[in-house]
Amino acid sequence: MRRLFAATLLAAASTASFAQKSAADGIAEYRAMLADGNPAELFEAKGEALWKQKRGPKNASLEQCDLGKGPGVVKGAFVELPRYFADTKKVQDLETRLVTCMEMLQGFNGAEIAKTPFGKDEQNNLTALATWIAAESRGLRFNLPQGHGEEKQMYEVGKRVFFFRAGPMDFSCASCHGEDGKRIRLQDLPNLTKNPGDGVGFAAWPAYRVSNGQMWGMQLRLNDCYRQQRFPYPGFGSEPTIALGVYMGVNARGAESIAPAIKR
């Protein structure tokens, strides 16, 4: 951690003294220094242990959890989510599918977990599990299935949610993520209406956020986007959030996953 802090200071200093250099170069350099020791590794280790640990009212592990490629298959599952699950008759993303497994295999109350604020209790465990599962697909390319009618429908809904403009500032996801080469302040904004490239946008989360020292899954990433859009509060795992995952994930087909990434 001390090394991380030093790197941050160094980055701040170099940003100030190299104002001439492109801002994006400075940020890339800063990220490269940080990636040297990505604290996401700690969450990966915790997630793997949680997967194997007997827990919950049923005192069972998650090792028989079906993430879409069959019970217990973890490698490659992340880059095919969200997808349709016949047992729940729903399209689910990684986090909502994990809640289903925690409910069915371990006997946890899924509704309670969905209501728990981010960063607390079982939500923390969920983030760690998602981090490890994503890491098991690092280097693989996104390939979400679109064979089921529900998956196709969720893509179409997701596109509409993405462009849904409302609130006091008239923002939609597209306000910031609908064009190439745009920035907010110094932050580059991926164009999420198409494949934004390897390890960018959907292919980078879960990610460790240096600015607040937190590990964020995609549900929290979307939640904070909506906060900044000045929208009301989206329900955890609600259909619009899943639909956005399908829209971004299908658009990112072929992009290499670098999750869990490290962000400013």
Binding site: E156, F164, S175, G181, R183, T193, F231, G235, S238, E239
Partner: protein
């Protein structure tokens, strides 16, 4: 909060799901999406669920396709008519206060305590270059460096500058008056900034003494 209109929307949704054989039409998907949006968001702090209620412009600009010409014209005409011009014809405040407002990206989120304009920043640098000394600026909107100078503003009181001064006020009060689907918030119309705050941002852009115009 879940209104009566939602129930038919969800019924349509389940009918769509049940009738898997035929893919839903674009209109059915629009209805389904609206129902899911209304059912999935809740009040949090100052950000109430009714923020999802769209006006004509928000609705017409919620697509990857531009609205029909006639709709765009209607949005622009209504927006133009909504502009409240400053009391006493006083357009220009203090550029120093304008710079502070331009720097602040605060306001109107569910973690903000108050929706009063006094609690809000103007968010300008999030999307625009303004004073060149600030290197941390966004690029969603055009550069505003030398905004007044490039438009020949040497004296804001000169009647010859009235058109650009009024346009700039109107653009900030309700950006949709000049582009139906503008990305820019409607700072006056949506009560994001009050008249005094707008005057300060006006000064930052137009006052010949502002660092923006050097």
């Amino acid at each position: 909060m879940i209104s009566k209109t939602l129930i038919p929307a969800l019924l349509v949704a389940s009918a769509v799901v049940a009738g898997c054989a035929t893919a839903p039409s674009p209109q059915e998907l629009d209805t389904l999406t609206l129902g899911l949006m209304k059912a999935s968001f809740r009040d949090e702090g100052i950000a109430k669920a009714d923020r999802l209620n769209q006006d004509l412009g928000q609705q017409a600009c919620s697509s990857d396709k531009a609205p029909a010409e006639s709709v765009a014209k209607q949005i622009e005409a209504e927006a133009l008519a909504s502009i409240k011009w400053p009391s006493g014809g006083q357009y220009i405040g203090d550029w120093r206060e304008g710079e502070k407002l331009a720097q602040s990206g605060r306001g109107m989120t569910w973690t903000d305590a108050s929706a009063d304009p006094k609690a809000n920043g103007a968010n300008c640098y999030n999307c625009h270059q303004i004073d060149k000394k600030e290197i941390s600026y966004g690029t969603i909107g055009p550069s505003l460096w030398n905004y007044g100078k490039l438009r020949g503003v040497k004296d804001v009181a000169d009647p010859a500058t009235a058109p650009i001064v009024q346009y700039t006020w109107g653009k900030m009060w309700n950006s949709k008056a000049y582009a139906a689907c503008s990305n820019m918030p409607r700072f006056g119309h949506a009560k994001l900034l009050n008249e005094e705050q707008l005057r300060h941002v006006m000064a930052l852009l137009l006052d010949p003494k502002s660092p923006v115009n050097q």
